[in-house]
């Protein structure tokens, strides 16, 4: 009798534990959410308060839900997660006073990938590239030393570059150095200046860098066009370049291969500056006028049209891109190409200054000794001398 009584009491005690589970299963099956467009209903809320499991919402919960600011009525309300989800995936109904359609994007997921790339691999490998280039040149200088003149100086000079050519070169050089320094400050300032000097100093430096970078960019582009027009004819590759490269330009070893006005190495520099500088300029203009000249989606479409569907390391090319993503791609490309060009220009500065005797004169005074011209540009010197001989001695310049 006592045993039957105990079993009865135990059953009574366990009933409340079993009942909600059964009720939840019923609730999951029976709750009709058609009135709320799939958003939670009053039954959902009450079930959750009872500790019951609530079936996930179905459909687009935000489309039929009431605005949070208004009366909820029978349609329920869009919860914060719903709102943030809509903002994240660009489905929220946003109205802005200025900035157009672009400004309606309040949250952009792709921005995090760009930020992480900029603070991580871009800064890391870009920095390594520049430091590695400097280290290599230092090692090369220690091992090879300055490229000296093999012939004795004659005292006679020939005009290597005219005044206008040199001015355009220095316009390009000066603007590129300013752009490089301000670009590096923009990327590395937060890592190396703000923590060690001060955030205020870094902020002032960044503001100045921004003004310099945005405006000096135009000087760089003007100079780039001038340089291209002046020197493109002399930089078309020809047969002598093969010999020049075969003999490593005379930099390694003692031979000095023949060359015209520009040798193979200088042609590499020229085309690097034109192509990489041109690419930097295009992405720079895209950044100077945000959202006005998006280029990457068009480029990817063009690549796909010729059968390029993916790139090594990067993977498949994107098929759609938000306006902000276009800007992020432009910034990343701008910086990557700029790092490569900076490394090339560091090597150019080395060989044009401490790396080679007499090289600076070409861009300094514009006059180089005949001995230097014979050693490094023998074919060009022969052309000049042939022209001098061909010109009649009693000729007078045209009025």
């Amino acid at each position: 009798m006592l045993r039957a009584f105990l079993i009865f009491v135990l059953c009574l005690g366990l009933m409340p534990l079993a009942a909600p589970h059964a009720a939840a299963q019923d609730a999951q099956q029976t709750i009709d959410r058609s009135a709320t467009g799939g958003a939670q209903t009053l039954e959902d809320i009450l079930a959750r308060q009872r500790g019951e499991e609530v079936a996930p919402k179905t459909g687009d919960a935000t489309s039929n839900a009431r605005d949070l600011s208004g009366q909820l009525g029978t349609l329920g309300g869009a919860s914060d997660p719903d709102l943030w989800r809509a903002l994240r995936y660009g489905s929220a109904d946003i109205t802005v006073s200025a900035g157009g359609e672009v400004a309606t994007v309040l949250v952009q997921d792709g921005g995090m990938a760009w930020l992480e790339f900029r603070q991580g691999p871009l800064a890391k490998y870009g920095g390594y590239l520049l430091l590695g280039t400097l280290a290599l040149l230092l090692v090369f200088f220690v091992l090879r030393g300055k490229v000296r003149l093999d012939y004795e100086k004659t005292g006679r000079t020939v005009t290597r570059f005219k005044s206008f050519e040199r001015a355009a070169h220095w316009l390009l050089a000066g603007s590129f150095i300013l752009l490089g320094i301000t670009g590096l400050l923009t990327l590395f300032g937060r890592m190396f200046i703000a923590p060690y000097i001060s955030k205020e100093f870094n902020a002032t430096l960044l503001m100045a860098s921004k003004y310099i970078h945005n405006n000096v960019a135009w000087a760089f582009m003007v100079a780039l066009v001038a340089i291209f027009i002046m020197w493109v004819w002399h930089n078309i590759p020809n047969r002598t370049d093969i010999t020049w490269f075969a003999q490593a330009g005379g930099i390694v070893g003692s031979k000095h291969p023949p060359a015209k006005k520009f040798n193979g190495g200088q042609k590499i520099i020229f085309w690097s500056v034109i192509l990489l500088g041109g690419s930097i300029s295009l992405s720079g203009v895209s950044l100077l006028f945000p959202f006005e000249f998006p280029m990457f989606m068009k480029t990817f479409d063009l690549m796909r049209s010729v059968g390029i569907e993916s790139l090594p390391i990067y993977g498949p090319l994107p098929t759609a891109m938000a306006p902000h993503e276009e800007m992020q791609y432009a910034q990343a490309w701008h910086a990557i190409v700029a790092f490569v060009l900076m490394a090339i220009i560091i090597a150019h500065i080395y060989i044009g200054s401490v790396g080679m005797e007499g090289a600076y004169d070409a861009m300094g005074s514009g006059e180089v000794d005949e001995a230097w011209a014979r050693q490094h540009h023998s074919l060009w010197l022969e052309e000049l001398q042939a022209k001098d001989k061909a010109a009649p001695k009693d000729a007078t310049p045209a009025e």
């Binding site: 006073s97 200025a98 900035g99 005044s163 206008f164 040199r166 001015a167 355009a168 070169h169 220095w170 316009l171 390009l172 050089a173 000066g174 603007s175 300013l178 003004y211 310099i212 405006n215 000096v216 135009w218 000087a219 003007v222 100079a223 006028f289 945000p290 861009m363 300094g364 005074s365 514009g366």
Partner: protein, 41 residues
Amino acid sequence: MKAMMMGFAALIVISVGSYFALQQLGLTAGAVGSGDAVRLD
């Protein structure tokens, strides 16, 4: 040296000139981003 100075002078002229030219053309970020209800200058 003279050519170098000319190049640097051209750099300053073009840079300062572009700054004021863009302002005159209304192409600054402030001018482009402003609207009826938003003033960014």
